[in-house]
Amino acid sequence: MPVKFEVNGKPVEVEVEPRLTLADCLRHHLGLTGTHVGCEHGVCGACTVLVDGAAVRSCLMLAVQAEDAKVVTVEGLSLEQGLTPLQTSFRKHHALQCGFCTPGMITTAHALLSEEPGCDADRVREVLSGNLCRCTGYISIVEAVLDARAAYQRDGKRP
């Protein structure tokens, strides 16, 4: 069945099976392979995308449920050239190794900082505890997110 929604600011229309997840739709129908699939049961958070501004597990949402929604993936949170302040902070703090969980961390952290740019370390840990990372031990990720708060405070709420 057809589904229409917006991805990273662009309207898309895709013909999908009703059982197709939003994650698979993004990855295999729309070529947005930055969104990763780590568990397909909603625990690891690698597939996190923003749906109407909220961090959502795209493996637990069907593509057809995205009808009329505004979906943002890690590609949509990136620049043509260079890195955003959040990404720069991740790189500076070595908050990634294999990079597989990273898109989910970026989308989750972006959603958090957009809503709560003044959040403290405990709040960052609480929110990020829904995303598994096997490489870093998380400490550098928490530091990176805390260090990126300033950019969100300066910019105000971003999309």
């Binding site: 568990c39 049961h41 990136s78 790189r91 990634l96 294999c98 597989f100 031990g137």
Partner: protein, 768 residues
């Protein structure tokens, strides 16, 4: 050997260079195997056994083949002769009898064993067809634990007749004589639970068969592509040069990913049969039952000491559960347990026996610090028990027995069956212990140990360890000058997410004395790049590839000098290479791009291992009402010989510590008596999260470069995990000292800790 460890122009090695890889990973432009697509691509899905042990009577694929979109269903019957997966390590005749067939052949021996492969237009259609395959398996009695395995009443391999594939023994000195006259001995029995590497990216492969050239390309390989090429070529009846292995970005390895698994044959086979590109990506449930498990060990350990705390001897017997088959490196942990049980301590007489058994569970392989995590848990626990018995301070006891620098090189026990000898190469083990205690503020905190504060018992502990690395025999690299005067580095090493591109570029830039951006590309992992590569495992890349780069750079500079001297009519020694120019007498110069096309090979060969070493300390608080252990502080100190990139090294260490904490507190594969895996999802198999262990401090030192390689590097990727189980278990024991409990089993889950406290209370052992 002279070690040119410092050069004036040495600017990148040792600097916290931000990683080159990050630019693509942070923006969603990484390319992992499931991101690939090809024209006419089909998808593979594996039907796995739901029976742990059984005899296959039939597999009827008729209905599945008739389903829409299904192109092929492959079972053992389609293969003719079913190949087994060769052992990469320790291929003794005894172990080879237990090699895994690439697809279940006659019998199934664990839940998750591949029975059939379905090829369809989409993964969903292939999964639909799985349900249409009719499998008739006669269940057999199940070997669900080590004790049942050792009785040999139920046999996994009828043709062999025993569930014990092999036994290893490592020996140093005369242990029985030492025990005979020992004034004090202590014995304990320890268990480390089955858990595993569990990288975040599930495995995947893409195979493309070129019918005209009779050539297969397999993408998604990592770790040991050259070894796997050899194995695959043999199984497919192809010359090695007709097998191309291509590495893409890899979402974590930790020892498990990249070994040769059944799918590494089945997917290429399907591509050849269908003459279509085939992609396969496992889901997490499959991953948890198909990727190597690890650690599953119990160990009886006995120590002999003088009354003043000098260790005289150590002996023991460990039993490791290999699962249903011996996989490529299934015996590695057992071998390490036998050899390095003595750790960084001066123990003149050692004898460790290790019995390997097979059970109806997922086969095991290496997981970061294989055998080392297990041995360190047993040894460090036993040391604290002895110190307490003898009334000696835990620190003093360790200090007295640590190997000193003057005793280097210090030989460890020799593994008799495999004739493996090794020796600690260098180090000041006491220095890392002291530094760890300083950072930890041991003296101050020791006043709190064992105290009940605000409802929780506080405890501290420290442990010392060795990290073996730099495994041989060789690694090869190639350095080439490009048309624009930049350099391309091609290496036989593999990336599993550890930052190979960045750190190898740092070494190359320094060795060539050029800015880092002149290292245009670092190409790794694929069999296209160098003629012979060995890959990335056993903390070997900074030692083996790092020193091979230095060798290649030296050769390249010599060649440039020689060539420039010919053109400038001077002696090669008169040529200086500076900032992209070869400069001769009288400032005559040639730009490096004029040497485009020059390429040299470099190699580093060694069969001597390096030994990083260190100490970790933990501060815990135990809630007696729930059994929950909170980690209040954790300090890790390691001397790695030579730091290439402090940023990535620090990341490896902290990451490894948290993995170790997962193994110590959370992670466990649980099976029932029928061999069913009960923890086949992330809801059941608990991995550490961001809120579990917020305080880990890691300090890396480079006081003692390795004397056995020019860079002075030692392996460093695994050290962080090795001592964790022992250190935190000792901290829990210290916290609960008033109950006189002795944690002997991992994981220290809340129920287990709570039960220890309850049974101590019931038996009245508690002093209050």
């Amino acid at each position: 050997m002279t070690a040119p460890t410092q050069r004036a122009r040495n600017v990148f090695v040792g600097s916290p260079i931000e990683r080159l890889e990050d630019l693509r990973f942070l923006t969603g432009r990484g390319q992992y195997i499931d991101d690939l697509a090809a024209e006419r691509m089909l998808h593979a899905v594996v039907l796995r056994s739901s029976v742990a042990h059984g005899r296959i009577h039939s597999i009827d694929t008729t209905a599945a083949l008739a389903r829409p979109g299904v192109h092929a269903v492959i079972t053992a019957a389609d293969l003719g002769k079913v190949p087994t997966i060769p052992l990469r390590h320790d291929p003794t005749p005894a172990l080879r009898r237990y090699e895994q067939p690439v697809i279940a052949n006659g019998n199934v021996r664990y839940v998750g064993e591949p029975l059939a492969l379905v090829i369809a237009d989409s993964p969903a259609l292939a999964e639909d067809a799985l349900d249409a395959i009719i499998v008739d398996i006669e269940p057999l009695p199940v070997v669900a634990d080590r004790d049942t395995a050792r009785k040999d009443e139920i046999i996994l391999f009828d043709t062999v007749g025993t569930n014990t594939p092999d036994k290893l023994r490592a020996v140093r000195g005369d242990v029985d004589a030492a025990f005979k006259d020992a004034p004090y001995t202590r014995h304990a029995h320890f268990r480390v639970q089955r858990h595993a590497a569990v990288p975040m990216e599930p495995r995947g492969l893409m195979a493309e068969w070129d019918e005209q050239q009779q050539r297969i390309t397999l993408s998604g390989v990592c770790k040991v592509p050259f070894t796997n090429r050899r194995a695959l070529a043999k199984m497919m009846g192809l010359p090695e040069q007709s097998v191309r292995m291509v590495e893409y970005d890899v979402g974590g390895g930790f020892g498990a990913r990249g070994e040769f698994y059944p799918e590494d044959f089945l997917i290429p086979l399907a591509a050849r049969l269908t003459r279509r590109p085939i992609k396969w990506t496992e889901d997490r449930r499959e991953n948890l039952m198909a990727l190597n498990h690890a650690r599953d060990t119990e160990c009886d350990l006995e120590i002999a000491c003088t009354r003043d705390g000098t260790i005289l001897a150590l002996r023991g017997h460990a039993i490791t559960d290999l699962g249903a088959y011996v996989r490529t490196n299934g015996a590695t942990a057992a071998r390490n347990i036998s050899q390095i049980m003595s750790g960084p301590y001066r123990i003149p007489h050692v004898r460790m026996d290790v019995t390997m058994v097979v059970t109806n569970k997922t086969p095991v392989g290496t997981y970061r610090g294989p055998g080392r995590f297990e041995s360190d848990f047993c040894r460090e626990r036993l040391l604290d028990m002895v110190a307490s018995d003898l009334g000696i301070d835990r620190l003093e006891f360790r200090r007295r027995n640590l190997i000193t620098e003057a005793e280097m090189p210090y030989p460890l026990a020799t593994v008799e069956q495999l004739d493996i000898e090794t020796e600690c190469d260098s180090g000041d083990y006491g220095a890392t212990l002291d530094r760890c205690l300083d950072e930890f503020k041991w003296a101050e905190r020791s006043k709190l140990s064992g105290k009940l504060i605000d409802g929780r018992y506080h405890g501290i502990a420290v442990g010392c360890y060795l990290e073996g690395g730099g495994t041989g025999p060789r690694e090869n690299v190639r350095l080439a000058i490009e048309a624009n005067g930049s350099f391309t580095l091609l290496v036989g090493s593999s990336s599993v997410g550890q930052g190979v591109e960045t750190v190898l570029a740092q070494i190359a830039a320094d060795a060539l004395e050029v800015p880092m951006d002149r290292i245009n590309r670092v190409l790794h992992g694929s069999t296209d790049y160098v003629a012979e590569g060995f890959g990335s495992f056993s903390s070997r890349t900074m030692v083996m590839a790092g020193n091979a780069i230095v060798d290649a750079a030296n050769r390249l500079r010599a060649l440039v000098r020689e060539t420039a001297a010919g053109r400038l009519n001077c002696a090669p020694s008169e040529i200086a290479i500076d900032r992209g120019m070869a400069i001769g007498p009288g400032r005559a110069s040639i730009e490096l791009k004029d040497f485009a096309g020059i390429a040299v090979d470099g190699t580093h060969a060694s069969n001597k291992r390096t030994y990083s070493y260190g100490a970790h300390a933990a501060y815990v608080a135990v809630d007696p009402k729930t059994g929950h252990v909170a980690l209040l502080d954790y300090v890790a100190v390691e001397d790695v010989g030579r730091i290439i990139n402090p940023l990535t090294l620090h990341g490896q260490c902290v990451g490894a510590v948290v993995q170790g904490l997962g193994g110590a507190f959370l992670e466990q594969f649980v099976y029932d008596e029928n061999g069913q895996l009960l923890t086949g999802s992330f809801a059941d198999y608990l991995m550490p999260t961001a809120s579990d262990f917020p305080t880990i401090r890691a300090i890396a030192l480079e006081q003692k470069p390795s004397p056995i390689n020019p860079l002075g590097t030692k392996g460093a990727g695994e050290g962080g995990i090795i001592p964790v189980g022992g250190v935190v278990a000792n901290a829990v024991a210290a916290a609960l000292s008033s109950f006189k409990v002795q944690p002997l089993d991992l994981p220290l889950s809340p129920p287990r800790v709570w039960q220890m406290i309850q049974s101590a209370r019931r038996s009245g052992a508690a002093s209050r």
